[in-house]
């Protein structure tokens, strides 16, 4: 299961049980039109629900199908059919019933929550995201929907992060994400962006990011260089135009500044409006008449700290193709195009990028997911998705927390945010413990707790909890991952090995897991298996900035008797190590060179 929310979905804690009991009661009383049918439907649904409550979903299903035959338009029958199909490993079938339930009651969040899960189980993330986001939108006060979305978003965030970290370009995107997450204009932010640019100089927008970081630090000559690089990389880079306008204004060249700002307003007024906060308030023309049109409006917004800044009417639909609009960064016009056909992944990707640029992550996420190739996902798409998922998870969680509710699911969500987004394992432990107090045997919470305890360095209790999870449900992969991590940390490679083998087999795309498997194999004498897992990953560009993985490869090859290749790998390790040691935060400052 992709989402880890099976705790309350699969095992129905007291809150959910209460809700379903009420649902069933309403269903039985309110949905039947004739006496005979009422008797039949009532009895069928009641019996089905009894099975359902006991977790005997497969016994419930035949009864529900009979009820469906009697009343195919019944909301509750469809909802229960969807849930129980999902629980019996039929997510595809579940989708049909849940979609119907959702159509019958479009303002209900429950079918959408389960629909999201059903799609996610099939790795159809675009539809899953849309369902989860819609659930939050139709029931903004529903803690469960918010928790479900946050859980989904964080799980995707973690999955994307693993994928990103398995390539050089992906690692660049990870650095860039870290830079975006940093508040203020500090040097680490710049250093991270610089590292990202080193690793992937062709990443869209990376040079304009650097231009803004240097502008914020007051290094105008540095910013000019980056702005130039940005425009060389993409002459239509609107962010670079704004940076260029600011640089022109710094030199009192208001004619150029105004022209640049007007051009941005023509391409994407929203993008320019977002730049209000990035423009120094005191950077204003000497006379108001020096700048006119949208540029003047923009500068007036800057002066008055007015956000959002209304820069005139939105652009009209364009006759141009999405490719042209994308290239010219006419984001508003792109989003006004009809939604692409499902198979047109590139068009979905471009649409997703447009929504991100317009700061509309809820609409960007499904589009980007649909645009992401499963075989070879585009790094830039994953980068934008990660950014949107983390932001929307944070926003949604923030809204729910303001409600002051103390439900277990809220503690889980808080814990997830703390653990997976903010890396505050100690605080996550406390949240999960509060959730667990309400349902001590919920394996989904217990495995989260074990993971958080591992992160907090409480190894023994983490191990105990992870083992307890597997006693309740031997299939829980997160618990297995925690046990594997503990064993690897303790260099107990023999214990880690079977867990790593299973985890790697379950998800062959998880290169990080294969690297761990390679380490365990190397240490347990399984050199061939170690090599099979490590060598392809390195050949495909798995990041090894300091050379330690090439060193490992060298030692493996040596044990295999492949001395020449081993020497080559060790030489590469040394080169990587030395290259990394020569990097510095000052690399862009020629005066600082030794």
């Amino acid at each position: 299961m992709l989402t880890a929310r099976g705790g309350f979905m699969q095992f129905f804690g007291p809150e959910m049980g209460r809700w379903l009991r009420m649902l069933a009661f309403i269903a039985v009383l309110g949905s039947c039109s004739s006496v005979a049918m009422e008797e039949d439907l009532k009895s069928l649904v009641q019996r089905a629900f009894d099975f359902h409550q006991k977790g005997q979903f497969s016994q419930a299903l035949p009864l529900l199908h009979r009820a469906y035959a009697l009343e195919p338009g019944d909301y509750f029958v469809n909802l229960l059919l969807g849930i129980d199909s999902l629980r019996t490993g039929q997510p595809k079938a579940a989708v049909l019933f849940l979609k119907r339930a959702s159509r019958l009651r479009p303002q209900e969040e429950y079918p959408l929550d389960y629909l999201g899960e059903a799609y996610a189980r099939q790795d159809i993330y675009g539809e899953a995201a849309e369902a989860y986001i819609k659930a939050v939108r139709v029931a903004p006060g529903s803690a469960e929907s918010s928790v479900a979305f946050v859980d989904f978003a964080l799980t995707r965030f973690a999955g994307l992060s693993e994928l990103l970290r398995s390539s050089r370009k992906g690692l660049a995107a990870e650095y860039r994400l870290h830079a975006l997450a940093l508040q203020g204009n500090d040097a680490p932010r710049f250093a991270l962006l610089q590292r990202a640019a080193d690793l992937d100089p062709a990443a869209p927008g990376i040079w304009s990011d650097l231009a803004f970081a240097t502008l914020a630090s007051g290094d105008f000559s540095g910013a000019e260089g980056y702005s130039r690089q940005a425009l060389e990389a993409d002459p239509n880079d609107q962010a670079a135009w704004i940076a260029d306008a600011q640089l022109a204004a710094q030199k009192s060249d208001w004619q150029r500044a105004g022209a640049r700002l007007d051009s941005v307003a023509q391409h994407s007024p929203t993008l320019l409006s977002q730049a209000v906060g990035q423009w120094p308030p005191k950077l204003q023309p000497p006379t108001p008449s020096a700048v006119a049109g949208p540029a003047a409006k923009f500068l007036s917004c800057v002066r008055d700290a007015r956000k959002p800044c209304d820069l005139g009417p939105g652009s009209k639909p364009s006759p141009n193709s999405s490719t042209v609009l994308y290239r010219e960064q006419r984001w508003e016009q792109m989003t006004k195009l009809p939604a692409p056909q499902p198979v047109r992944s590139e068009a979905w990707f471009q649409r997703g990028v447009a929504f991100v640029k317009l700061d509309d992550c809820p609409r960007a996420i499904p589009s980007l997911e649909r645009g992401l190739s499963k075989a070879a996902p585009e790094v830039y798409g994953m980068f934008l998705l990660s950014w949107c998922y983390s932001r929307e998870a944070g926003r949604t969680a923030g809204k729910v927390q303001q409600s002051g509710s103390e439900e277990a699911s809220l503690h889980i969500m808080r814990g997830d945010i703390l653990l997976r987004l903010q890396a505050k394992a100690d605080l996550a432990v406390a949240e999960y413990q509060l959730a667990l107090a309400k349902d001590p045997n919920d394996p989904a919470v217990l495995e989260r707790l074990a993971d958080a305890q591992f992160g907090a360095g409480k190894i023994e209790i983490s191990r105990q909890n992870a083992q307890a999870v597997l006693k309740i449900d031997p299939q829980r992969l997160a618990a297995k991952r925690t046990i594997a991590k503990i064993a690897m940390q303790e260099r107990d490679y023999a214990t880690a090995l079977p867990y790593l083998q299973e985890l790697a087999a379950r998800n062959p795309q998880d290169v990080t897991m294969r690297i761990e498997l390679a380490k365990a194999c190397a240490q347990t004498g399984a050199s061939d298996e170690a090599w099979r897992n490590l060598a392809p990953a390195l050949a495909q560009g798995y990041p090894d900035e300091k050379g330690s993985l090439h060193y490992l490869l060298g030692t493996i090859l040596k044990k295999m008797g492949r001395t020449a290749e081993a020497d080559q790998a060790l030489a590469t390790a040394t080169q990587l190590s030395e290259a990394f040691q020569q990097k510095s935060y000052r690399d862009q400052d020629p005066d600082a060179q030794p």
Partner: protein, 568 residues
């Protein structure tokens, strides 16, 4: 304190040390009363006159240099047979100048009664800048131990004049610590060694990051409350420096000529020993978040970095960690020196076992060190036989990077190659949590038990007097004649009926610090031992039937043939 109850006057001590091979007997009755019990310490610094406070001048800006200072050195500068102590200090920031006397380095003379006297002013060794570490050795073979103090953008060589004063001879000697291009470096540690066995001590210097206060980046956040120390990955690494002693009071930087080239590292602790038994000292340098270095001495004045081939470049599971302190001794009794390296919390300390084939194996798990070390930020460290049972225990100075993470020191007892954390039983005041940094080991009260002095950031120095139950021991102070006078690099084999131990004269121990030059052997219940000394010159000296519980000063035979002598 035993030295109080059994005082030896300075005159008596000097008389006893008057000739090579003379022994100073300490009451055998004391050794006879041994009753095994826990390793125990008492902090004797308060009231002893040791009033040193390690000042980093942190004010919230979080300059990178603030976290990594704290070296200290054991030196018997007045040759009275009692270990004196030199403490290295920080300076004002961002000027890097010792603008205030509180930043002064300090030299404390051991008064031989459990107290110390600050003789810094007379000695003239206050230091010059933001300093980090110190190496102790007799570089000019005049019988007097000298000081080489390293720090940020400038190192200082203090020649011991023999009259309680020192002279700064840095410029004349050519050991200012600048790069080949004349750029000032940030040195953390240094060690004396005679890498070419020509009888003159050479110098290895580990340098850290390319850093200046003017453009140190701000990490964590713009507000002071959010600030954090930057990760070392942000800085360019610096080259290792190797100085060859020309024998005339000057040195030549020979990294390129010897084969080191421009070997980079974020170098921290240095440990020196001959790990492959070829008679030439090798060098281990712990690196902070970069691969560790093992500089294999090929002989003939050539060296080669072999960290990867020897399997010590990365830790036991193949990662680079925040390597800090280091020591290089035989912890498992197989006669081969092994490597101990400390790291920061949750990285674990590392133990690399010498396999006798030119490489090392991960011994962190098997020795128990892995899990014992996980919670601790380790800095200074050392393999040291604290209970005289013949097995080298581990002492680690612990403390986080920043003021919010003080930690107590750790003592790990070695039982046949497996460690147990016995810190909880080490005494009521041993649990003091501070930002500990450097540690040096010496028998400050000459009672046959190794004590430890530990610095802590912005806190008074600790002097941990060893109060463990007494067992038998031997201490050797070697004096080279054809070898370097400090005898650095000499190998000593100590055999009793129960145990054979191999040790080296190696005082670069732990983090940026220099421990006592004396070689200490715990003998357990044995009352006799035979000694075999392999001098760096190649001569071998044997001493049979040496009685336990004494300090010997042994001079290298001046004859070139292997010599045999017995203590008188």
């Amino acid at each position: 304190m035993r030295s109080r109850s059994h005082p030896v006057t300075r005159r008596e001590f000097a008389k006893l040390l008057g000739g090579a091979g003379l022994a100073l007997s300490v009451s055998g009755a004391l050794a006879a009363t041994n009753a095994l019990g826990p390793i125990q310490f008492q902090n004797a610094a308060p009231g002893s006159g040791l009033d040193f406070v390690l000042r980093n001048d942190a004010s919230g800006r979080k300059y990178q240099v603030e976290t990594v200072l704290g070296g200290l050195g054991v030196i018997d500068f007045d040759q009275d047979g009692w270990s004196d102590l030199y403490c290295v200090n920080g300076a004002s920031l961002p000027s890097l100048q010792k603008t205030d006397p509180r930043f002064s380095n300090r030299l404390y003379r051991n008064n031989r009664d459990g107290t110390f006297t600050d003789v810094t002013q007379k000695a003239g060794v206050q230091g010059h800048g933001y300093e980090m570490g110190v190496a102790v050795g007799d570089y000019n073979n005049d019988g007097l131990e000298d000081l080489y103090v390293v720090g940020v953008h400038g190192n200082t060589l203090y020649r011991n004049n023999g009259d309680g004063t020192f002279t700064d001879v840095t410029q004349a000697a050519g050991v200012s610590g600048a790069s080949a291009q004349g750029r000032k470096l940030w040195s953390v540690a240094a060690a004396w060694l005679d890498y070419d066995n020509d009888g003159h001590l050479d110098l290895i210097v580990s340098n850290y990051c390319d850093w200046t206060p003017g453009d140190d980046p701000i990490c964590g956040g713009l507000n002071y409350a959010d600030r954090a120390y930057c990760h070392p990955d942000m800085y360019r690494a610096e080259p290792i420096l190797l100085y060859h002693n020309n024998g005339d009071g000057t040195f030549t930087e020979v990294s390129a000529q010897t084969g080191l080239g421009k070997l980079l590292g974020k170098g921290m602790g240095i440990a020196v020993t001959d790990y492959d038994g070829d008679g030439f000292p090798d060098i281990f340098i712990a690196n902070d978040n970069d691969r560790n270095l093992l500089i294999h001495n090929l002989g003939g004045g050539k060296v080669k970095e072999v960290g990867m081939e020897a399997a010590i470049a990365y830790n036991g599971d193949g990662r680079q960690i925040s390597g800090m302190g280091a020591d290089f001794r035989d912890f498992d009794g197989d006669g081969l020196p092994d490597i101990l390296m400390t790291g920061l919390r949750r990285e674990t300390f590392e133990l690399f076992r010498n396999n006798g084939k030119g490489a090392f194996e991960d011994a962190s798990v098997g020795s128990g060190l892995l899990n014992l070390s996980r919670p601790w930020n380790g800095w200074g460290c050392g393999f040291v036989d604290l209970d005289n049972d013949g097995w080298l225990d581990v002492f680690v100075a612990c403390g986080g990077l920043d003021a919010n993470e003080p930690q107590p020191n750790r003592v790990l007892h070695n039982q046949g190659g497996r460690f147990t954390d016995v810190s909880a039983d080490a005494g009521p005041d041993f649990a003091a949590s501070r930002l500990h940094r450097g540690v040096v080991f010496a028998d400050f009260d000459n009672d046959g038990r190794i004590d430890a002095a530990v610095t802590s950031v912005n806190q008074p120095i600790e002097l941990w007097m060893n109060r463990s139950p007494v067992q038998h021991w031997l201490q050797l102070k070697l004096k080279g004649t054809r070898s370097n006078a400090s005898a650095l690099g000499a190998k000593v084999i100590c055999r009793t009926t129960q145990h054979t131990q191999v040790s080296f004269v190696a005082n670069s121990v732990g983090y940026a610090s220099a421990s006592d030059l004396r070689v200490h052997f715990g003998l357990g219940e044995a009352r006799k031992a035979s000694l075999e000394i392999h001098w760096p010159s190649g001569s071998v000296q044997e001493l049979k039937e040496v009685s336990s519980d004494q300090r010997l000063q042994i001079e290298e035979p001046r004859l070139s043939a292997p010599g045999k002598s017995s203590p008188r």
